[in-house]
């Protein structure tokens, strides 16, 4: 797939992401494939992920923006809505996708998900169970994982 066929929307989004990055979020396209983005999200303050730097990959399928981007955490994270493969449970990445959403809004949503884990709607069952049984302890684990895996070093 040649980058020369890149729709103008993707070019514009990319330019805007680079020129006006959202706070705590960076996304830059791969040189080999402009539909593939290397993403970094800083753990939101007041969350168990504070201080962490989380790497993600984001891919814009051929149908984008009629279909949602595919996004996955590369950094290990202890979160009830993110599984061990880094897959994210977020409605706008599935049935609630709208072509009016963009890479930026998707990443902001993921950042918000880090601030608001939702163990009632889990993707990672064990984590969610842990979260519901003993939230304090689960949060401690999440902080620990953040230190160990997302220190940004």
């Amino acid at each position: 797939m040649a980058n020369s066929n890149l729709p103008r929307r993707i070019i514009k989004e990319t330019q805007r992401l680079l020129s006006e990055p959202a706070p705590g979020i960076s996304a830059s396209p791969s040189e080999e494939n402009m539909r593939y983005f290397n993403v970094m999200i800083l753990g939101p303050s007041q969350s168990p992920y504070e201080g962490g730097v989380f790497k993600l990959e984001l891919f814009l399928p051929e149908e984008y923006p009629m279909a949602p981007p595919k996004v996955r955490f590369l950094t290990k994270i202890y979160h009830p809505n993110i599984d061990k493969l880094g897959r994210i449970c977020l409605d706008i990445l599935k049935d609630k996708w709208s072509p009016a959403l963009q890479i930026r809004t998707v990443l902001l949503s993921i950042q918000a998900l880090l601030s608001a884990p939702n163990p009632d709607d889990p993707l990672a069952d064990n984590v969610a169970k842990h979260w519901k049984a003993n939230e304090t302890e689960a949060v401690e684990t999440a902080k620990e994982w953040t230190r160990v895996y997302a220190s940004g070093a």
Partner: protein
């Protein structure tokens, strides 16, 4: 961010990504992967300009099911910083029969509105001579001379005529005005009504189609101004209720109707019409997400989704969307119809 921009913009061929053939990569039996709904982000589709609620609008572009009337709107007659104009749908005809399976893609047509009351400016002011009586005041534009009639507790009758259900309350007078933009209107002293007599309930509810306040603004274009059909009425009617606010009465407009050459239109705002009369799409790159199609981020928006009235698409993307989704990109409501609205730049 590694890649330099010159490199990125190059148009040459890039091989596929080294490791991005399938996604997600090593797919083991997926843990139940049903749809979840998270609260955190009902992310603003475009966060700079959240679509509804929209700015209130003045008027000038209307969809019309019939051939356009003789004097279609061409030029700007708003005061310069005119608010975005609303569109309105025809009340009666056009949409009869069951909704079609396919999504209609219609062209909007323009109808000239001769008088426009700025609906967010309408107020009740005490009459200096008799503070118990209230005078109706507002700002309006008129392209021709005309006159205003104010009704209290009025009901709509045939052909957009109005009459008060308490005829003894007031003597109806038609207050003349001259053409001009952004004029201030205030009811003449002594012609107001003492509303203290009515209960708040009565004032704030349009009960049984009776509206506590109706402003009927009609244009009488002279032959030079407007043309041949001087006899036909061209009016904009504003229907409002009165609400208590900080110990005072505040006017809340419920709807505006246009009655032009025997056709009744209800004015409705179009969401996302950002002063499209300016040639500002070229500027869109600047940082302004307000004016381009939400799908291609490139072309100007010229197509509204109905019935939710989100003007968010260009006509090309609207065609694409039709085949791929039946939901409005902004609000996810089902799309019944797409309406193309060519907003022409003002001609000097």
């Amino acid at each position: 961010m590694g890649a330099s921009s010159s490199r990125r913009r190059r148009d040459d061929y890039y091989p596929p990504p080294p490791h991005y053939t399938s996604y997600p990569p090593p797919p083991p039996p997926p843990p139940h992967h049903h749809h979840h709904h998270h609260h955190p982000p009902p992310p603003p589709p475009h966060h700079r300009a959240p679509p509804p609620p929209p700015p209130p609008a003045a008027s000038s572009y209307y969809y019309h099911p019939h051939p356009p009337p003789p004097h279609a709107y061409h030029g700007p007659w708003h005061p310069a910083p005119a608010p975005p104009p609303p569109l309105q749908q025809p009340q009666p005809p056009a949409l009869t029969g069951p909704p079609p399976e396919y999504v209609e893609h219609q062209q909007a047509q323009k109808v000239k509105n001769y008088v426009n009351l700025h609906k967010d400016t309408i107020r009740l002011e005490p009459d200096g001579a008799d503070p118990d009586r209230r005078l109706v005041a507002f700002t309006f534009d008129a392209v021709t001379d005309g006159r205003v009639t104010i009704y209290y507790f009025a009901k709509e009758g045939k052909d957009c005529s109005f009459s008060s259900v308490y005829p003894e309350l007031q003597t109806l007078t038609k207050i003349p005005f001259q053409k001009g933009l952004a004029q201030r209107f205030i009811q003449p002293s002594g012609s107001g009504v003492d509303l203290g007599f009515f209960s708040l309930d009565e004032l704030s509810n349009p009960s049984g189609e009776v509206y506590p306040l109706v402003v009927y603004a009609e244009a009488y274009p002279s032959p030079e101004e407007g043309g041949s059909s001087v006899n036909s009425t061209r009016a904009q009617i504003t229907l409002a209720v009165l609400e208590k606010h900080n110990n005072d009465l505040r006017v809340k407009v419920i709807k505006q109707i246009l009655w032009i050459d025997g056709v009744r239109y209800e004015l409705q705002e179009i969401f996302g019409l950002v002063n499209s009369t300016e040639a500002d799409v070229a500027d869109a790159d600047a940082d302004d997400m307000g004016k381009e199609c939400v799908i291609c981020l490139t072309e100007p928006r010229d197509t509204a989704v109905m019935p939710c009235r989100h003007l968010c698409l260009c006509s090309e993307c609207a065609k694409t969307l039709r085949f791929q989704s039946n939901k409005c990109p902004i609000c996810r409501q089902p799309v019944e119809k797409l309406m193309e609205i060519k907003v022409r730049s003002p001609e000097p």
